[in-house]
């Protein structure tokens, strides 16, 4: 960058390419494995190049499912619903509570703040037992609500948005007040659009968070039709000893990673900007 030394630039590129190769190697092998038949994947050494069974495997997995399990298509749909519900639910709630915390000078605001902080900060993994009890009591096992609500209730996003809102200059609110905007109008017309990179970043984070959820869905769903794709990988891995169907597992793994990867790459610019601007 400073000096234009082709050698050092070449070394940098080389290191980066090597890094990329190592990081992406498992993903490449996934694609490879998803394109061979079951027999080929039991012969050592395993292939490093693509086979011809890709679409065969795809058809089998998406349409019929593996060994009488639910078709992956249904699970993909469940995963999508769960990820979107979590992302949208959490973003709306967090935006509203962050707005209240930052802009309204109500009494006991600090108390409220800490209450949210303490109660909502905890990852589901940690409060899993009590949460399970409550969801079970409310009869929400095996429902989308049961899947998502406990995951929605967490404060990380609230605090991200609080940071974003705090960085919005006060004058913007004052200008809007002079321009005759009420609290809700300010929220919709000014604050939301101004915070859109943070919201986009949060959407990516939460979509992936929701899509990748695993422990919680495992606990609250017993109905096969409510299974998510991430859970199904786990189930197939359990059966590995008896029937090592690596071609199906890897095809499913591939399908399980495509949507979140697409989301993160598609929204990369906003994601990176929102993430690195608000968090640091």
């Amino acid at each position: 960058m400073i000096e234009n030394r082709p050698v050092s630039t070449a070394i940098s590129h080389f290191v980066l390419l090597a890094g990329v190769a190592i990081v992406l190697f498992p993903i490449w092998i996934t694609i490879v494995a998803a394109s061979h038949d079951v027999a080929r994947l039991l012969e050592v050494p395993l292939p490093l190049g693509l086979g011809d069974q890709f679409f065969e495997n795809l058809k089998q997995v998406v349409g019929k499912g593996v060994e009488g399990s639910t078709p992956i298509g249904i699970m993909l749909f469940n995963s999508l619903v769960m990820a979107l519900m979590i992302a949208f639910g959490k973003i709306s709630i967090s935006l509203l509570s962050a707005y209240a915390i930052v802009y309204f000078d109500f009494r006991f605001r600090m108390l409220f703040f800490w209450m949210i902080f303490i109660t909502l900060m905890l990852p589901v993994e940690v409060r899993i037992l009590p949460t399970y009890e409550v969801v079970a009591k409310l009869g929400m096992l095996d429902t989308y609500w049961g899947l998502t609500i406990p995951l929605i209730a967490s404060a990380t996003a609230t605090f991200m948005f609080r940071q974003t809102f705090l960085s919005v200059p006060d004058e913007l609110l004052e200008a809007a007040r002079i321009d005759g905007a009420g609290p809700m109008q300010f929220f919709w017309d000014i604050l939301l659009p101004v915070s859109r990179t943070s919201i986009a970043a949060m959407f990516v984070i939460l979509f992936i968070y929701g899509w990748n959820q695993y422990l919680w869905p495992l606990l609250v769903t017993t109905d096969k039709n409510m299974m998510t794709i991430v859970m199904s990988i786990k189930n197939m891995m359990e059966a590995l000893e008896e029937t090592p169907k690596w071609h199906h597992i890897m095809m499913t793994a591939l399908l399980a990673m495509i949507p979140p990867v697409l989301v993160v790459i598609g929204m990369q610019k906003l994601f990176v900007k929102g993430l690195t601007e608000t968090e640091k």
């Binding site: 200059p169 913007l172 004052e174 200008a175 809007a176 002079i178 321009d179 005759g180 905007a181 000014i190």
Partner: protein, 364 residues
């Protein structure tokens, strides 16, 4: 200067009126100590003072962005203490402009009108009118980020003008611009205001800006109005030493002096200065002030100064010198040939003496 731009109808001469206005912040800090002020319709009034003296606080109380702790504020005859900013029929230009970053220039200007429920074609007409006035037509579809500092400043003004408010409030609107642009924009704002005839309250810490733009000034210090008057009143007859030192550039020279018992001579160091008129004060401790430009070189001059440094500005020279231990600045026309260590003999224009009580800082 003051009468030429004071137009508009005289039906309601005091357009903005402050009555015993005080501000105490929630933390107990008293930022404004009771200010009374009447601003006439169409008048351009500048609030000036050093940083932290409460200018913004006072302006923001007029705008409705800060609660008024005590006293009353009237705008166009209406008491506005309890009105929302949007109900006060004012427009404000902020130091950092506070443009809505996600809206185009057009939308920035239209937003306030839209909130008032103004019909679309009326909004369109007005925005275009103002855009033309401020030469913003080409920029209407840009976002604030794509504008230069000066352009943003004009958009901020456009946003204020388009509302056709009863008063403009400016809070240091030029301080984010470079020096040259600042001088240009001073003129633009002044001309626009004269043309629109809208009552204006303008905050700045820059006394040159204040002097050049104001019909009348309020000099504020620590939340107290030191003096209210036209620029020339403040220049010719500053009521306090603070005002005297604050207005004018380079600043007025001050010398600690003793008044003779008969009140006819002033003594400082080796210098004895006879006075034209007899001066009387409670104590003999006087601060004597004179402006750098009210001095002439003369071989028979009453004061002899030790030259430190001369700044040659072409048309004039600024001479930094010393009288005993007091630093003295002179501003003389033309090129003055003097250098460090020289002695200069000078006379001070006897009509332009200023005297202040040394302890109270009040004009005698």
């Amino acid at each position: 200067m003051s009468d030429s731009s004071t137009k508009g109808s005289s039906q309601n001469p005091s357009h903005i009126r402050l009555k015993g206005v005080e501000k105490i912040y929630p933390n107990g800090y008293k930022a404004i100590h009771g200010i009374d002020m009447e601003i006439e319709e169409g008048e351009f009034v500048v609030l000036v003072g050093p940083s932290g003296c409460g200018k913004s606080t006072l302006l923001r109380m007029v705008a409705g962005l800060e609660d008024i702790t005590h006293g009353e504020v009237y705008i166009a005859g209406r008491k506005v203490n309890d009105l929302e900013p949007s109900q006060r029929d004012i427009a404000m230009v902020f130091q950092n402009y506070a443009l809505y970053p996600h809206m185009t220039v057009y939308k920035n200007m239209a937003y306030g009108l839209k909130n008032l429920g103004t019909p679309k074609d009326e909004i369109d007409k007005r925005v275009n009118e103002v855009a033309k006035l401020l030469e913003l037509e080409e920029l209407l579809n840009r976002r604030p980020k794509q504008l230069s500092g000066g352009q943003r400043q004009r958009v901020a003004m456009g946003r204020a003008i388009v509302r056709k408010p009863t008063a403009f409030l400016f809070d240091e609107p030029l301080s984010n611009l470079d020096a040259k642009l600042r001088v240009q924009m001073r003129l633009v704002i002044k001309n626009l205001q004269a043309r629109l005839g809208t009552t204006t309250l303008y905050v700045t810490h820059d006394q040159v800006e204040a002097m050049t733009m104001a019909d009348r000034l309020i000099v504020l210090k620590d939340g107290i109005a030191e003096q209210i008057g036209t620029p020339m009143e403040l220049y010719d007859r500053p009521e306090t030493q603070f005002v005297a030192g604050f207005i004018g550039s380079p600043a007025m020279n001050f010398i600690e002096a003793d008044l003779s018992d008969d009140g006819n001579t002033l003594q400082f160091g080796d210098t004895k200065l006879p006075l034209k008129e007899k001066l009387s004060n409670q104590t003999s401790k006087i601060t004597f002030g004179f402006r750098p430009e009210h001095v002439t070189l003369s071989d028979s001059g009453a004061m002899s100064l030790q030259v430190n440094l001369v700044e040659h500005l072409g048309a004039e020279s600024i001479i930094h010198a010393k009288l005993g231990d007091s630093p003295i600045t002179l501003r003389l026309n033309g090129h003055i040939d003097a250098k460090n260590g020289d002695t200069l003999k000078v006379d001070i224009d006897a009509d332009r003496y200023h005297f202040f009580d040394k302890n109270a800082g009040i004009r005698i």
